[in-house]
């Protein structure tokens, strides 16, 4: 029994468990973020936007990294499951990217006095959004299996170049966007704010897992349907 068979088998069963876990973690996260966590001494209550903005940005970048790695894996190992998994991850990645852009824009209005700035971090996140759209559209537009594999892999691998730009843009250039508050060496955020941030991140990851499982199952059934047509 290979690993993918096990994954396929698990993905059908895991959906409902992940859904309930997401509801629990998300509810706790919402209460922590909106009620229990303190207001910031400088940003006041607008800091609460961070609890949806930051986890969505992290998840979006993380998902694209996985998509690019899986696409590379497909080119090297020629395994069809890599692309199916990558394709199933893309919708939640795009939604998180849009949430990060929109909530960032909403936060920017009271903090910076503008909805949008062509700042390096914000622009590179917009570029990531374009890569996500191109990736998802390619799966819809191109019908030939070989072409779509090559094109989607090329888009995701090209998009991979953008990820270090997103990460280090705040250090390489003078940006309106603040530098990272959480690094490997520590955090400048107080624990009372870190807790809701991590709970919301866990909830967002669970939501992306849920959407991935549903999309992956859809893709598997699509394959089965094509197979039944050939009988």
């Amino acid at each position: 029994m290979n690993i993918f068979y096990k994954i396929n088998n698990l993905s059908f069963k895991a959906q409902k468990y992940v859904f309930f876990l997401f509801i629990i973690v998300f509810s706790i996260g919402i209460v922590e973020a909106l009620v229990l966590s303190p207001a910031d001494y400088k940003q006041s209550d607008s800091v609460r936007i961070m609890y949806v903005h930051v986890p969505s940005a992290w998840t979006s970048v993380g998902i694209f990294s996985v998509i690019a790695i899986l696409s590379l894996g497909n080119l090297i190992f020629k395994n069809k499951y890599f692309l199916t998994i990558a394709k199933s991850l893309a919708p939640s990645g795009l939604i998180f990217n849009i949430i990060a852009l929109v909530t960032g824009s909403i936060w920017g209005r009271p903090t910076w006095g503008t909805w949008w700035a062509w700042d390096a971090r914000i622009t590179s996140m917009l570029v990531l959004c374009i890569f996500y759209i191109l990736y998802i559209l390619s799966w819809r537009v191109f019908q030939n299996k070989e072409s779509v594999n090559k094109i989607t892999s090329a888009i995701s691998i090209l998009g991979l170049i953008n990820l270090p730009i997103i990460k280090f843009s705040v250090e390489w250039w003078t940006t309106l966007h603040q530098p990272a508050s959480i690094t490997l060496s520590g955090s400048s955020i107080h624990s009372s704010m870190l807790l809701p941030l991590f709970i919301m991140t866990a909830a967002f990851v669970l939501f992306s897992v849920l959407i991935f499982l549903m999309k992956y199952n859809t893709e598997l059934i699509k394959i089965k349907n094509k197979g039944l047509d050939r009988i």
Binding site: Y5, V102, T103, M214, I221, K224, G227
Partner: protein, 77 residues
């Protein structure tokens, strides 16, 4: 307390719109994907039950379909 949560020291409009936008996005994506999944499940169900008994038996014997059918409980679809 309730008033403070709503107004958020004058930032209520920004904070609440961010959270509501996130919730709407989650809800919309979940439902779009759920509809797609249901559509494919319905298609599979109708195609599988349209097969003749002979073809159904041959499907069950083939290695690829053994794997497919093993992780798909047709009665549950």
């Amino acid at each position: 307390m309730t008033f403070e949560i709503i107004t958020m020291n004058g930032y209520g409009l920004y904070v609440w719109s961010s959270f509501i936008f996130t919730l709407i996005s989650f809800f919309a994506l979940y439902h779009v994907i759920k509809i797609q999944l249901k559509k494919e499940q319905e298609k599979f169900k109708s195609k599988y039950f349209d097969l003749t008994e002979e073809k159904t038996e041959s499907v069950k014997k083939q290695k690829t379909y053994k794997e497919i059918l093993a992780f798909t409980n047709i009665s549950k679809i």
